[in-house]
């Protein structure tokens, strides 16, 4: 699997985490330096306070006992272990007393705090070739470099003698180093951890995406039943995969619908096409008169028209059933639709001696497509008029509308022979099913299937029941919100 670093670098997750890693590192470095310098400064301040106190003590000693007492005090203090630096020098900088052997040049000429840490050497620092104290009269350059750093407060006695009190910086320096090293180590660990996490997160994202692309390639390759992997972790990848899977299921449904259409078209149009072809062939091979040929051609046109009608019906049913019809949906008044269709069929009914009545008043609003509703209703009314002719009494077709709690029922009932067998009634809405009795009637056997598809499009249903005598066909529409 392509999980090498360049590939991981290309994932959005890895890029984002790399950016965060860099930002984080910068902040951490800043933090380390801030922390160390802060702690060093605190130590220095503390040191300076101690020295100031000491100098005050020494000043008191000087006031009390003059120079000898001061020297004694200093000598005593200087001998204590871990003592501060003490030094008394004359006005020329010659070291007279104290525990400092040599100093960096120029320290003694400062007044007050040394402005920066200076190097010095202390008596007793085992330096084998150390020079004598007087060779370093002015704390001048030493052949062996002073090993320690210190800060000091330089003050002058009234007689111009110089008193220096200082403190070694080795320990604070070491402390600072330790803190810095520890922080740097922690930072390194964190960086390493971040890198590792970053790598695994990136790898995981990449793995997911590779799986998804793999699955989509398989699906594009024709396996529409394939689905994207869902790990069950419920993360964003899962949610995405689930949505895409739903989309795939929908596509599969539509595809299935389309396949069914083509199967149906192939199956159901081949028969009449064959008939058409055979008739044309028969006409061609016969030695007919021009009038015969003309009749054959007219027949062929009529047959083609019927084929086109069947074809259109199949296409429409399939589109409606597959649910990708783009027919617009608006508020439709079913009462108006009934009045229009009844008005359209009334002359035909009258001519056939059928009483067509529609006692429909008011408005019955549903969400739907006027054209489709009218088409379905006219199919049903058309059928009802034809089959009511079998009636023993006066052939009558009655169209009624009634409101239920949540729905509107549009019922067309005739008083013909109906379909006595419930199984037959069930089958009547299937495609191309033409019950025994209806075979003598013209039609494609698609009328009721079309109505059923129209009702499916309207989220309603189509039911056939016995009207005793006759057949009652009910179209049930969900009621429109505004129509209540």
């Amino acid at each position: 699997m392509a999980l090498r670093l360049p590939a991981i670098m290309k994932t959005t997750a890895a890029r984002l985490s790399a950016l965060y890693l860099i930002l984080f590192t910068l902040c951490a470095i800043l933090l380390v330096f801030y922390m160390t310098s802060l702690s060093a400064r605190m130590l220095t301040t503390q040191t300076m306070e101690t020295i100031t106190e000491e100098v005050q003590g020494l000043a008191q000693s000087y006031q009390r006992g003059g120079l000898p007492y001061l020297v004694r005090t200093i000598e005593r203090r200087a001998r204590q272990p871990g003592a501060n630096l003490y030094l008394i020098a004359d006005a020329n900088g010659r070291i007279l007393s104290g525990n400092v052997e040599s100093l960096e040049l120029g320290v003694l000429s400062t007044d007050g705090w040394t402005d920066r840490p200076f190097a010095y050497q202390r008596f007793g620092d085992n330096n084998p070739d150390r020079r004598t104290a007087d060779s370093s009269t002015s704390g001048a350059a030493q052949p062996s470099p002073p090993r320690h750093k210190a800060i000091a407060l330089v003050s002058r006695l009234p007689n111009q003698m110089i008193v220096l009190v200082g403190r070694d910086l080795t320990e604070p320096e070491r402390f600072r180093e330790v803190v810095q090293r520890a922080l740097m180590a922690a930072l390194g660990m964190m960086g390493l951890g971040a890198l590792l996490i970053w790598y695994f997160v990136g790898r995981r994202a990449l793995k997911h995406i590779d799986q998804v692309s793999g699955a989509s390639r398989r699906i594009m390759g024709g396996d529409l039943s394939g689905r994207l992997p869902v790990t069950g972790a419920g993360d964003e990848f899962d949610r995405l995969s689930e949505n895409l899977n739903n989309m795939l299921a929908r596509i599969q449904d539509l595809n299935e619908g389309l396949r069914q259409v083509s199967d149906n078209i192939a199956h159901d149009l081949k028969t009449p096409l064959t008939r058409l072809r055979n008739r044309a062939e028969a006409a061609l091979s016969s030695n007919g008169t021009p009038a015969d040929y003309r009749a054959a051609l007219e027949n062929a046109i009529a047959e083609s028209d019927q084929l086109i009608r069947t074809f259109n019906a199949i296409l429409m049913i399939s589109r409606l059933e597959a649910g990708y019809s783009s027919e617009p949906v608006t508020k439709v008044d079913l009462a108006a639709a009934v009045r229009d269709v009844v008005e359209l069929y009334e002359p035909v009914a009258e001519e056939s001696g059928v009483v067509l009545e529609a006692p429909v008043e008011g408005a019955f609003m549903v969400n739907g497509n006027r054209e489709l509703i009218a088409q379905a209703l006219s199919n049903i009314v058309d059928n009802a008029i034809k089959y009511s002719l079998d009636s023993t009494g006066t052939p009558t077709v009655k169209v009624t509308l009634e409101k239920g709690a949540q729905e509107v029922r549009l019922r067309v009932a005739d008083n013909g022979q109906g379909i006595p067998d419930p199984v037959d009634r069930e089958r009547a809405t299937e495609r191309f099913v033409r019950l025994e009795k209806s075979r003598s009637q013209p039609g494609s056997g698609l009328g009721l299937s079309l109505c059923k598809a129209v009702m499916k499009f309207h989220h309603g249903r189509l039911e056939l029941a016995s009207a005793d005598p006759g057949l009652s066909v009910t179209m049930t529409f969900p009621q429109s919100e505004a129509g209540k």
Partner: protein, 240 residues
């Protein structure tokens, strides 16, 4: 009652029309060209949208017949392009797409009429005749007169000679449409679309029955037929 039946050949169509056909199916285009010329018109054929657009721009046509799906530039875009340049030549859209929504899109793009393939040539011919006359529309007239038949669109009254004829509202609209297109063939589909506003194909000959009922009202008791049946095509309202 005697029903007057006209053969298509007997009909005096309006003067020859100059027609542009934009259709990429060569066989269909050739058939259309031949049939239009047999009907006395001049037809120019373009095989793709760009060529068709250029032809429509360069020459004046009475009617254009434009297929919806064309190579290089689709039919609706050609129509929209022509309309935006002020070309108002009537357009009949031919399409294999038959849903109401497709029809609405087509008409919105600037088409004047929409015919779904496959179609009968008589249907197409009747529709382009009507489109051609739309330029000299009778839309603004308040009273239509054909021979001794008179229809007042404001008072909703119909008279033939001195006799008042009572019509149902739908019959009135049917007669109004027929009179507006008097002298032209009007097909059953055109009646269903324009009088009932339905675009589906009713199984039974419902329109025929409506027309014969209307014919009964306007011809019964009069000597001359005025509402003629055109064999294989539709109806025509014509005096004499």
């Amino acid at each position: 009652m005697h029903v007057s039946i006209l053969e298509p050949a007997e009909i005096n169509y309006s003067g020859p029309m100059k027609i542009l056909v934009i259709e990429d199916d060569r066989e269909a285009a050739e058939y259309l060209e031949k049939a239009l010329e047999e009907a006395g018109h001049t037809a120019h054929v373009a095989g793709d949208g760009e060529t068709g657009f250029a032809l429509a721009e360069s020459s004046d046509y009475d009617v254009m017949i434009i297929d919806r799906m064309l190579p290089r530039r689709d039919g609706l875009s050609v129509i929209a392009g022509l309309r935006s340049r002020g070309n108002t030549t009537p357009v009949l859209i031919l399409s294999a797409l038959g849903e109401v929504d497709d029809r609405v899109t087509g008409l919105r793009a600037g088409g004047d009429d929409y015919l779904t393939k496959p179609y009968a040539f008589s249907e197409l011919l009747a529709r382009i005749e009507v489109l051609n006359r739309r330029a000299t529309s009778r839309e603004s007239e308040t009273v239509y007169r054909i021979g001794d038949l008179e229809l007042d669109r404001l008072s909703h009254t119909v008279r033939r000679g001195a006799v008042d004829i009572t019509l149902q509202p739908r019959e009135f609209r049917l007669l109004e449409y027929l009179m507006r297109h008097a002298g032209q063939v009007v097909t059953r589909t055109m009646l269903l679309e324009n009088v009932w506003d339905y675009h589906f194909d009713p199984q039974t000959n419902v329109i025929d029955v409506h027309v014969s009922r209307l014919r009964g009202k306007i011809e019964k008791g009069f000597d001359s037929p005025i509402l003629h049946t055109v064999r294989g095509a539709g109806y025509m309202l014509k005096a004499g």
